[in-house]
């Protein structure tokens, strides 16, 4: 059976949103499987609506399908209604492109962007008919591989993955393909699985968890060491030196049914050196690699023509930092002048760059929602996290937005940050009220939605040593905010469930022992934990207890400088002492300017890999806080601080 469609078809009449299982997207390829081609099933462990737009998977989908020795299809997690029907009838997980059973692929590759999707990964592997633990797999089973930001600490899911890819996938995917192709040619004989995995571990950027021994002393992890001399002691991430060589996706998938980010997405640069200390994405994707403006324009123009979308997003971690962004946006708007109106959206827009110029440009076709992310309520707190936005920057952005016709905006904040005091938390409410006040000059009922997330410390960030706030503490802070804004007209507060924040924290910095917990929660039916209505903390706490593991030890404990971290045998290029110094600087409330426009600090991301920033302009964007000579913080010598990290002031 190579096509489950005939069995699937009658089931689709019984499930919600069946269009997410039919494929047929514009840009989808007709797969041609062959014995000399490696078959990849690129998967996202969440629903189609969330997974389809994932740019990483779309890029790999194209690169693989351009390779004469590879063929790639896609899969997403079936919702619980369809899963039940599939299990009842013994129908396996399938690809969307040709409805091929997942077990027939040579590799099943997952993009992991959120810890709470880990149980879905297990569920999809199981639905594919593959044993969930890599140790139980045999040569006939596909290799299970994962990439994406979560894989910078893959230890909690190490037992379920055959291989893990660190960093940019564009180049390494072809190298993996070659090794697997030889394995396939050799007939995947008994015992060959171990050999192919060992060989894959020689590829830079590939981590094969089963090739490492983990040692504990009491509750503490003391070492993760390779089992063979030819397996690297430390796995380095992969970095594509020049984005211009990879103008992907060239034919972005256009889904039939509605998905998140349903628009043309063009990545304008990768990496960010603003240095926000809570931001894992910024730390692990250094250095900054801009796409040439000319290439961006071509990708936008061709993309719009090909897809028929009327919205294009210029994506990156901080799009306003793109050299000459105003001109680029202006050019795009102008080039679409004679056609139907097109809106340009700039997600992750820094407030210090949102001026009237950009405001008028992007509101042409449709006023999409406007979101700013000050992240913290006071300047002191923003110095700690190195998000150096002044209050005036926020207010002038908000003023520009209101004067250009926006009525509603969203502000993103984190709570539970290191050293946060109640004054910092209440500063969030103050900022929101001031924004509403500014809006009153332009509209009768301005509205500001404050969205508050609980902070989860992430690996390879300066905050990786910080013990996160307890559920109770986060709840107290959220209540503080709610009480304080109860009478503030026009201010709505929304928040992320602190219970979910705890579970994210356990997995974010957990070690291999957490694997048993994830498996247990999955076996108890705990899938789609990233969905509010499905999240169940009790499943997690009882699984932790059953395995003798203490949630507080994993999530709430401050780490010391000499502690072995579960990801110490992996590398994002960043020197550990750079991160430690930055952690000390944070506690001293000392900001750090962007190395794009100032001398290098030797964090390791460029220096270690002999690459460098690729930016078209050596000067920071006008109007920004950074590089404009404002005070970045006191210059307290960090040696004056005690060795142990200070806890949260609460």
């Amino acid at each position: 059976m190579t096509d489950v469609w005939p069995q699937l078809e009658p089931l689709l009449a019984k499930v919600a949103k069946p269009a997410r299982y039919i494929g047929l997207e514009d840009g989808a390829r007709t797969p041609h499987h062959a014995a000399d081609k490696v078959a990849w099933l690129l998967s996202y462990p969440d629903t189609y609506e969330i997974g389809l737009p994932n740019q990483g998977l779309q890029i790999l989908y194209e690169i693989l399908n351009e390779n004469p020795h590879a063929v790639a299809e896609r899969a997403y997690a079936p919702w619980t209604d369809l899963e039940g029907l599939l299990r009842d009838r013994n129908i396996p997980l399938f690809s969307l492109d040709s409805h091929r059973p997942a077990g027939l692929f040579d590799l099943i590759g997952f993009n992991l962007s959120a810890e709470l999707t880990y149980t879905n990964l297990l569920n999809m592997v199981d639905l594919a008919g593959v044993p969930v633990r890599s140790a139980d797999r045999r040569p006939e089973h596909p290799l299970i591989v994962a990439g994406g930001h979560c894989t910078y600490n893959p230890e909690p899911i190490a037992d379920f993955l055959d291989l893990v890819v660190l960093g940019d996938g564009e180049e390494v995917i072809t190298e993996i393909n070659e090794v697997v192709r030889d394995w396939k040619k050799s007939g995947r004989t008994d015992g060959s699985r171990e050999n192919v995995l060992r060989e894959l571990s020689h590829i830079v950027g590939v981590y094969v968890p089963s090739m490492y021994d983990v040692t504990y002393e009491g509750a503490n992890l003391v070492a993760v060491t390779p089992r063979y001399p030819d397996v690297p002691e430390r796995v380095e991430k992969r970095t594509v030196a020049d984005l211009a060589e990879f103008p992907y996706p060239k034919t972005q998938l256009v889904p039939i049914t509605e998905v998140v980010h349903d628009r043309l997405n063009v990545e304008v640069f990768r990496g960010c050196t603003r240095g926000c200390r809570f931001c894992q994405a910024g730390m692990i994707t250094r250095p900054v690699r801009e796409r040439p403006a000319e290439q961006v324009r071509t990708m936008v123009e061709e993309g719009l023509r090909r897809t028929g979308y009327d919205e294009v997003a210029l994506t990156s971690l901080s799009t306003a930092d793109f050299s000459g962004i105003e001109k680029l946006v202006g050019d795009i708007v102008q080039s679409t002048d004679d056609g139907p109106p097109v809106s340009v959206s700039l997600p992750s827009l820094r407030v210090d760059a949102f001026g009237v110029g950009i405001a008028t440009q992007i509101q042409r076709a449709r006023r999409t929602g406007l979101t700013f992310a000050p992240e913290a309520g006071t300047w002191r707190m923003r110095q700690v996290i190195n998000k150096l936005i002044r209050e005036e920057d926020l207010y002038s952005a908000v003023e520009a937005a209101y004067s250009n016709g926006w009525r509603r905006m969203k502000l993103y904040f984190l709570t539970g940050l290191p050293t946060e005091t109640d004054e910092d938390t209440l500063g969030i409410a103050e900022l929101a009220r001031n924004c509403v006040q500014l809006g009153k000059a332009h509209t009768k009922s301005p509205s500001v939605t404050v969205s508050v997330g609980g902070f989860v410390p992430k690996p390879f960030t300066p905050f990786q040593w910080f013990g996160q706030n307890t559920v109770e503490e986060l709840r107290r802070k959220i209540n503080l905010l709610r009480d304080d804004t109860r009478k503030s007209h026009g201010v709505q507060v929304k928040w992320h469930d602190p219970k979910a924040t705890l579970v994210e924290g356990i997995m974010s910095r957990g070690d291999r022992r957490i694997g048993a917990v994830i498996e247990e929660v999955w076996r108890q039916g705990g899938t789609f934990q990233e969905w509010n209505e499905r999240f169940d903390l009790d499943l997690w706490t009882s699984a932790m207890a059953a395995h003798g593991l203490d949630p507080e030890w994993f999530a709430y404990r401050h780490r010391t400088e000499d502690e072995v971290l579960p990801w110490d045998h992996l590398s994002a290029g960043l020197h550990k002492d750079f991160l430690w110094q930055d952690w000390r600087d944070a506690l001293a409330e000392v900001g750090l300017p962007d190395c794009r426009w100032t001398p290098c600090y030797d964090c390791g991301a460029c220096t270690g890999y002999s690459i460098e920033h690729i930016v078209a302009s050596a000067t920071p964007p006008a109007g920004g806080s950074q590089g404009t000579g404002q005070d970045l913080g006191s210059s307290v010598p960090v040696t004056l601080l005690g060795r142990a990290p200070v806890g949260t002031v609460s």
């Binding site: 009658p10 039919i22 039939i256 023509r305 076709a365």
Partner: protein, 243 residues
């Protein structure tokens, strides 16, 4: 000028919703670079007017869509070439068959169409058995059904909405389940009867297999016609309904 497009929707794409189709059409019109009129205001949209919504999961050989163009009638826009021009930009399984100009004064599709013809696969029943079921239905003077409306049970009669029923034979060989094939003509006004309501009114109630709308009818002075007149530009009939 206003044009009316007739298209089919068959195969896997039948699982897309009416809303999904509307968005696919929007993108297709932009890609085909047609001079479509745009609504004014906060969130400009192409001026498209859809006919009766087709339920998610149902196929159709006769769907219609009216589109306002900025070009006046008699411009050099080649209407005959439009099916070929639009189909490649629509999802596989959506095929544009004919296009014709209509008067702006014409009733909207939703108002004008009063009857639809459906082909309904009914699994688990022989054509003979279904035949006797159908007779019972047609002999009944009333067929009361209850449905929920705003939390209240309302009862009403679907018999007047059943124009004709005919057992065509056994289900085609590619059907997922064996059974009988029913052709039904059901009214859309004043109260529309859905194929699922029809099957629920059978004694015993029947399950719905694949369903295909084959025709939509406008009835004027007792004469029926399809929303696009016969003289419209047309492709070879053999291509119509190819799965």
């Amino acid at each position: 000028m206003r044009i009316r497009v007739r298209f089919s929707k068959t195969g896997k794409i039948r699982f897309s919703s009416h809303r999904d189709m509307a968005r696919c059409w929007e993108r297709a019109l932009r890609r085909a670079d047609l001079p479509v009129a745009i609504t004014e205001g906060f969130s400009p949209r192409p001026k498209m007017h859809f006919g009766l919504a087709l339920s998610t999961g149902h196929e159709s050989l006769g769907e219609y869509l009216d589109i306002d163009l900025t070009e006046p009638e008699g411009s050099d826009l080649d209407l005959g070439a439009l099916p070929e021009r639009l189909t490649p930009f629509l999802p596989p399984g959506v095929d544009v068959e004919t296009v014709s100009i209509i008067e702006r004064s014409e009733l909207s599709l939703q108002e004008a169409v009063t009857v639809c013809t459906w082909l309904i696969e009914i699994p688990g029943v022989s054509p003979e058995e279904l035949e006797s079921n159908v007779q019972t239905m047609l002999d009944a003077t009333t067929l009361p059904v209850t449905r929920e409306r705003k939390g209240k049970e309302v009862s009403d009669d679907i018999r007047p909405g059943i124009i004709s029923l005919r057992v065509v034979g056994a289900t085609p060989s590619d059907a997922p389940e064996r059974g009988a094939l029913l052709e039904a003509e059901l009214a859309t006004q004043p109260r529309s009867v859905r194929p699922s309501e029809l099957l629920a009114a059978f004694d015993p109630p029947r399950n719905e297999g694949r369903v295909c709308r084959t025709h939509q009818w406008i009835i004027t002075d007792g004469a029926r016609r399809e929303p696009i007149p016969a003289h419209a530009t047309s492709r070879a009939p053999a291509e119509v309904g190819a799965r």
